[in-house]
Amino acid sequence: MFNRILVANRGEIALRIIRACRDLGVQAIAVYSRADRGAEYLNLAHDAICIGGESPGSSYLNAAAILSAAEITDVEAVHPGYGFLAENATFAQMCRDCKIEFIGPSAESMRLLGNKVAAKKLAKKSKTPCTPGSDGPVESEDQAVDLASEIGYPVMIKAAAGGGGRGMRAVHNEASLRSHFRNARAEAENAFKDGTLYVEKLVERPRHVEVQLLGDPSGHVVHLWERDCSLQRRNQKLVEESPSPHISARTRRKICDAAVRLARAAGYYSAGTCEFLVDDQENFFFMEVNTRIQVEHPVTELVTGVDLVQWQIRIAAGEPLKLKQEEIEQRGAAIECRINAESPEEDFRPSPGPIQHLFLPGGPGVRVDTHAYSGYTVSPYYDSMIAKLLVHRPTRDEAIAAMRRALAEFRVSPIKTTIPLHQKLFEHADFLRGCVDTGFVERTFGPATWKPA
């Protein structure tokens, strides 16, 4: 096992990695930007070092600064967390070139799976169902139109290098396809410096179901069952749960096996997630593979009892993945709410600033992952998530009751949070019945619903 690793991230995921290090007896070196100086979680690291200014570009996205920090603190590995450099194959290669292990998959599989077109090719090869569409880049508007009329509207325009919804367009007829094609390309150019687009059939009212994977370099790959992340707003996940209330045991098996096949085909190791869209008939279609630990990983930790972050570190340190597929059980029901410093009443405008009072929920079945505390200031420079609130109970209904209880206990002031939205979600009949799709939140809780009473 490593003696010392660098935590190349901030906030709750940095704390999560520091906790895993403490549990493994590994020294964690935290890095921080000037904006995060003095944050409590830095005191839980063996040491902390300032690597840059407030802007991510000068700190958490600054590969040179992070590697310099790694050199002067003499670490053996770097954990990138999620976001920032987590899925940057070049950074992974830079680390390894400096003889510092990157805690994640190989740069090759990151590149392979990071490219949607290549990933889709691989999916087909490994018999993982994909949405019908262009099996490669669509060069021109006209080609896109021909393809669309062939597979039938509605279709989705997507950026090959895309993510977070940028460069994505749903179009329902030729006119809108033509009008959106150009600006989708421009957006992709800006966002990813790669204007390559492709077109595929739009799955209507889709559920978002993803499969958690763990693998080691020897080729041993297991799944840790699925998470349902259908509650999203503008492609940002709000609530995640396991098991998915949308799929039968039979579909669960099929979708998990498909994910494992794909990971094996990609020579994938470390932790990763294979995302699918599922329609009302439980047909599932491959979306993409995330080659990092995800925000919602604790949902899987609760139902399986497996510590995913510890395993990432173990695998990077050369430990064989000892988990056997048949030993990994999906026990009870777990749900996560992402608590963001945003004001639902003001179209989810970020609400940064000092937290004067923070009362965290606790008691039976509750897990809280947060770097915040009374006196912590939510920085405007980074994403607005201040806490992950999770519950784990024997059944989904009990988990929902426990989440209601925990949301009622959770007090943050004076900043605004998404807690009021979560409280509405956990009272809504459609969610309680477990039949929502990725458009549910925007349809049901649009700005109109937040008019001051």
Binding site: H46, I49, G57, N62, A64, A65, I72
Partner: protein, 152 residues
């Protein structure tokens, strides 16, 4: 690094009212500034903790150490990057500057080695060096005070 990145960084500066962004990445070096040169006094925020002399500390020896003493009247030349501080161009040469020397904004005051690259650090301020706060071959953090300067 292409023009697009620079644009993003500039937007970022304007959006967040940053007065300076400096990036050293492999061969690339970028410095962006808005308004007057940044001169942070100890009133504007506590100085960073000073790492010890050993650039590769033993697991038992943490990097953090008590911060260098500072006085409210001083201003600082701070490290623009994480790396190793060198007071002279090479072991046999005298230090770039010493206490009492006057510096101009473009006076080179030290080298900081990061990723095998030696970066010349300029004073960015006009004044007289009152204290040297980092020692040769010491690991330094971003924003760490290197020299105290009596501005003039």
């Amino acid at each position: 690094m292409d023009i697009k990145d620079i644009k993003d960084l500039v937007e970022l500066m304007v959006a967040n009212d940053l007065s300076r962004i400096e990036i050293q990445q492999g061969e690339t070096h970028i410095l962006l500034r808005r308004g007057q040169p940044i001169v942070v006094s100890s009133l504007a925020g506590a100085p960073a903790a000073a790492p010890p002399a050993n650039p590769a500390p033993a697991p038992s020896a943490p990097v953090a150490a008590p911060p260098a003493p500072v006085s409210a009247s001083d201003t600082y030349i701070r490290s623009p990057m994480v790396g190793t501080f060198y007071s002279a161009p090479d072991p046999d040469s005298p230090a770039f500057i010493k206490v009492g020397d006057r510096v101009e904004p473009d006076t080179v005051v030290c080298l900081i080695e990061a990723m095998k690259v030696f970066n010349e650090i300029k004073a960015e301020v006009r004044g007289t060096i009152t204290r040297v706060l980092a020692s040769n071959a010491q690991a330094v953090e971003y924003d760490q005070p290197l020299f105290a300067v009596a501005a003039s």
